[in-house]
Symmetry: C2
Subunit: 442 residues, 2 copies
């Protein structure tokens, strides 16, 4: 792909090019012609690349290869036969291990099946059908239920709300978490606002990390709904890309101290620690929240896969074992994120047609292109054989009001594929930007 | 325990004793006194036995020990990396294997997580929140939803209905399935009747097997609700206790032929084939039903544990491998069922204070004692250290209108424990019956 760019011959990487919008018309016309040439060459290259989903690469999955030979034996620390029914709350030794990692007490944590998304669905269904620990009635009996959604955010969060007929109101995601003043204003004013989504650490897709101050404010802010819930989806709690490891705020303690003990529901999983499809998911919260969840769960479950719990306990050994394991993930994926940044900087730096995040953890880079060009970039990339997450995915109803956000997921492809895909993305961004500037002139 | 009975000295096993109710008062008084003596001796024996739940015994779980060393590799037949996300419908080779066993086409079957009960919950929640393939509206928008429940039946089925606010109407379970004339009458008359539970093969707890004729009637009967559903919980489809293996009726084809293709939703699992807590569950039905289920599932799941699917595929090899495996289960548990029958016959035969099933498959014996004495028997047994399923468990709302049914689950205890537990149960039945007859006299 680098050849293609050389062919474009627009600038050398070390030069800081002038912002495209500030150039005279004829220069932009020339830029467009060159960008079109580069794109045509890209299309003829016949790529097939995929940056759509945050999937671990095979090399990452290989880190957990020993899981396939485990467990040794089938008996838990307490003598439970993990093969049989029972143990709704999950294996105690696994709950202890991840309670330590997530900053919770073991009785504030449930170990479940292979997907935290399923637990989120269960909690929402329970709230709609029955209401929460602190609800006056089931949410399904409210005239309207609304969730605050920091954007850009995680598409599957929004899909779940839509599935349940829950409305959304968006707030901006900043580097230190959601626009907390706006969240507080909304939650205080409207009793139909029953909760919010939040990926507190290395958010999907922005990489934002909720600071202690923001967490405190979220935990303590007055809300018009007595049963306001923070869906604290800490999917990337341990997924550091640098050695400066962000520490997740202790939202359960903060909420308890602020007199709102049942406000947070915490989710986490080993999906991006061991096997994406065969890991263990966790739900945490106040002891009452955990009891509430288990009471509902027990109506339709006889217990999780405890053999897989035991498998994970034996594989990690200790909480430190999990941390050590995450360092090995970092070695594999940090270079891919560095490459995304390198190519974007090299191809787009200084043009002021795009900005992007440099996350210190998590699975995504959030790329903002010129307003009104994200869907064009994604369509161009698709025609060139590079699959990107559909336009608007990071917004409720897939509606990005500025049509500018693109979520990049660089973990799954091979390093060389990341380079090729990012060169292609940059080529599409350049073309779409030039098209836009020329069109706006008319 | 046999000593206790000898001590009672009421009769010799080979004599057929006279029915208790037909005996003169003084004989019943003497029987009561002896029964009380036997019970006192039983209490002093200090037993701790449990016949409450249909759990596989450790020896049964050991049959699948090799599962703990599988899978070899991690790639499916079609080259899919089972460790990663995706494949909502489950691994094709596993679906093919169990489609053959359940008499379905692979595209009529989904392989899911570790519990069919969870799939039942999901289907009910989908129906309440969204309605089915053939629904006019979500069930939650109906004034009332009612399910037909054959009784005695499975307590967890009834618990799920209660959790969702679905009302129940009971029909009697016969040897050939539910009282189908009554089912047809109810379903034709009342549009609020939206469905029914049914364990078609070796039902919990009666061991009933739905005949081809009954299945045809259920598939073809006119129903007032256009979206009437048969929850066909075929949990024991392959769980034969004799070599005369019952063949489950092909409800999906029958319903399709009768013009009600979306009426049945089939459930099954390997919970009592491999590991109770770490098996694979299945959902079947028309292709449209499967598509409907997956569309809802996809809102809150990225796929099942495909590693466990692959593990099961490698363990069984073929559908015949599953059948061979079930024969080994039979060798372990059939003697336990024979022992239940032997002790009950020996201790209660001819007294006409109890009747019980002799199932040809499944996990339970259904014991009917004298009307009004089941809860007394269960309380007596509990005081003597023998845990039985709570009185009324096999009825919606735990209400057994005749207070006569007791579900016995003999698979989990060791053979000697089965004998001891059944001797104890018989002692309690004898005492409760004599108490009742004496009390009724007053």
């Amino acid at each position: 792909m680098h050849d293609l760019w050389e062919h474009g011959g627009v600038t050398a990487p070390t030069d800081q090019p002038r912002p495209l919008a500030e150039r005279p018309a004829e220069e932009v016309d020339a830029f467009l012609a060159t960008a079109q040439e580069s794109y045509d060459a890209l299309r003829s290259a016949g790529l097939t690349l995929d940056l759509t989903r945050g999937k671990p690469a095979p090399a990452q999955l290989d880190l957990s290869a020993r899981l396939l030979d485990l467990p040794e034996g089938h008996t838990s620390r307490d003598g439970v036969d993990t093969r049989n029914y029972g143990g709704l709350e999950g294996l105690p030794e696994l709950r202890e291990m991840f309670a330590e990692l997530l900053g919770l007490e073991p009785d504030q944590l449930v170990a479940g099946g292979n997907a935290s998304l399923v637990m989120m669905r269960e909690v929402l269904v329970n709230l709609v059908l029955h209401g929460g620990v602190d609800s006056e009635r089931p949410w399904g009996q409210e005239e309207k239920v609304t969730f605050i959604c920091p954007v850009p955010g995680y598409d599957r969060h929004f899909t779940l709300l839509d599935w349940l007929g829950i409305e959304t109101v968006t707030v901006e995601m900043h580097e230190d978490g959601p626009d907390v003043e706006e969240v507080a204003r909304l939650a205080a004013a409207d009793p139909s606002i029953k909760g919010m989504w939040l990926v507190p650490t290395y958010a999907n897709p922005t990489g934002s990390v909720v600071t202690q101050e923001v967490a405190e404010r979220l935990a303590s802010m007055p809300t018009a709904a007595p049963d306001f819930k923070i869906f604290w989806d800490n999917a990337y709690a341990l997924h550091h890309l640098t050695t400066a490891e962000a520490k997740s705020a202790d939202i359960v303690s903060l909420a308890s101290a602020a007199g709102h003990p049942h406000r947070p529901v915490v989710f986490a999983s080993t999906s991006k620690i061991t096997f994406a499809g065969a890991g263990v998911a966790f739900l945490g919260g106040s002891v009452e929240t955990v009891r509430w969840y288990l009471a509902h769960l027990g109506k339709g479950s006889i217990g999780p896969d405890k053999v897989n719990h035991l498998r994970h306990v034996q594989f990690f050994g200790t909480a430190q074992g999990v941390r050590n394991h995450m360092a090995r993930h970092r070695e594999i994926i940090a270079p891919k994120f560095a490459e995304v940044d390198r190519v974007l900087e090299e191809r787009l730096g200084g043009l002021e047609v795009a900005s992007w995040t440099r996350p210190a953890g998590g699975y995504f880079v959030s790329l903002d292109v010129l307003d009104g060009t994200a869907s064009r970039v994604i369509a161009l990339a698709k025609q060139a054989g590079v699959a990107l997450t559909p336009a608007g995915s990071a917004f409720p109803g897939s509606h990005d009001p500025r049509d500018r956000n693109i979520r990049l997921a660089p973990t799954f492809p091979q390093p060389a594929e990341v380079t090729a895909a990012m060169e292609a993305v940059a080529t599409c961004v350049r073309l779409a930007a030039a098209e836009k500037l020329v069109a706006d002139r008319a």
